[in-house]
């Protein structure tokens, strides 16, 4: 029905649900993780100062089996 759109809408819905349920289950407001990401960026910056870092740490809440984990992906050198 929406052939021109590429992605089927249920895939978008699944991605959104996975994320929102991970936050719901961990009882964490998404904004809190964003604040953590900003703080983390500052700390990393202090230890590994670079000029004009292109990418900050990427922090996500993920469901792994029965547990919910915080995953921080911190690139040390942005190209």
């Amino acid at each position: 029905m929406f052939w021109g759109r590429g992605k089927r809408t249920k895939e978008t819905l699944k991605d959104r649900l996975e994320l929102v349920l991970a936050y719901d289950r961990a009882q964490i407001p998404p904004g809190k993780v964003d604040a953590l990401r900003r703080d983390l960026m500052e700390v990393v910056e202090r230890y590994f100062p670079t000029q004009g870092r292109a990418v900050g740490p990427n922090v996500e809440v993920e469901q792994r089996g029965d547990t919910v984990v915080l995953v921080a992906n911190i690139p040390l050198r942005g190209e």
Binding site: R8, L13, L17, E18, D24
Partner: protein, 266 residues
């Protein structure tokens, strides 16, 4: 399911809890069980009208608790399906008239003195006291979910709360599935829902105008021949432990659908 006492719940309103309660109740009774369906939505009762028994309500659940009548007087026997009974909620009282302990007492009496094989409790929407009261005596739960974002999210929350309340057997009833939309990739399939919620479906009920028609006249769909009615009947059989395969939702078959799959649309 081994559970004698089953709460029908969803979190979100309007997904088909009451219809599911009425139909699975009628289905189980048709299969020979002595069943009572209890409406716990105090102040907003609806199970009576969905089942077409509204004109026969004299006493209700709260009257029993307040000692205004005996249990036997409040129970309404369905005339179409023998062994199916309704215990209506009060339409006028406050929901505070009911609590978890009172609910447990009522359920005990229904099993021990009235000899019911199965008790289905129609929970009010929400996750507040009404839901907690309805779930208190339950050993099992049917979580009704529609394949859309808010219903799935609320179902996940409800499943967590049921687990916290030590409800052992939790099963999903996927309601209002539209096979065409699933085929075109614009609606979650049963497999998607299982993957997201991690709870097995015991029933998959297609969207069906027949449900509205049957509730218009107050006759449970399991007594008719609509697709949804058949799906509810199959759900009742599975609930009793029968191995019933899920209905083929055949609209995704055929030449056009094959073409659509070929071109990535489905």
């Amino acid at each position: 399911m081994n559970a004698k006492v089953i709460v029908v719940t969803s979190g979100k309103g309007g997904v088909g809890k009451t219809t599911t309660t009425a139909n699975i109740g009628a289905g189980l009774a048709k299969l020979g069980e002595k069943v009572v369906v209890i409406d716990v939505d105090v102040g907003l009762r609806n199970l009576d009208v969905v089942m077409g028994l509204e004109s026969r309500v004299v006493f209700d659940l709260i009257d029993v608790l307040e000692g205004k009548c005996r249990m036997r007087q409040a129970l309404i026997r369905d005339k179409r399906v023998e062994t199916l009974y309704l215990l209506p909620a009060s339409q006028t009282k406050d929901k505070d008239a009911l609590d978890a302990d009172k609910m447990r007492t009522v359920v005990r009496e229904l099993i021990e003195e009235e000899g019911f094989d199965r008790i289905l409790i129609d929970s009010p929407a929400g996750i507040e006291s009404g839901f907690k009261t309805a779930a208190a005596p339950a050993e099992g739960a049917l979580v009704v979910v529609n394949p859309e974002v808010s219903s799935v999210r609320d179902a996940d929350r409800i499943i967590g709360l049921l687990e916290a309340q030590q409800v052992r057997e939790i099963r999903l009833v996927i309601n209002r599935l539209r096979p065409k939309m699933v085929a075109s990739g614009n609606m979650l399939s049963e497999a998607d829902i299982l993957e997201i919620l991690g709870v097995k479906p015991i029933g998959i009920v297609p969207e069906d105008e027949g449900i509205l028609v049957s509730t218009n006249v107050g006759e449970p769909a399991v007594l008719g021949s609509s697709k949804a009615g058949q799906a509810f009947m199959a759900t009742a059989r599975r609930l009793r432990g029968e191995d019933v395969p899920f209905m083929k939702l055949e609209e995704d078959r055929g030449f056009l659908a094959a073409l659509r799959r070929l071109f990535g649309g489905a």
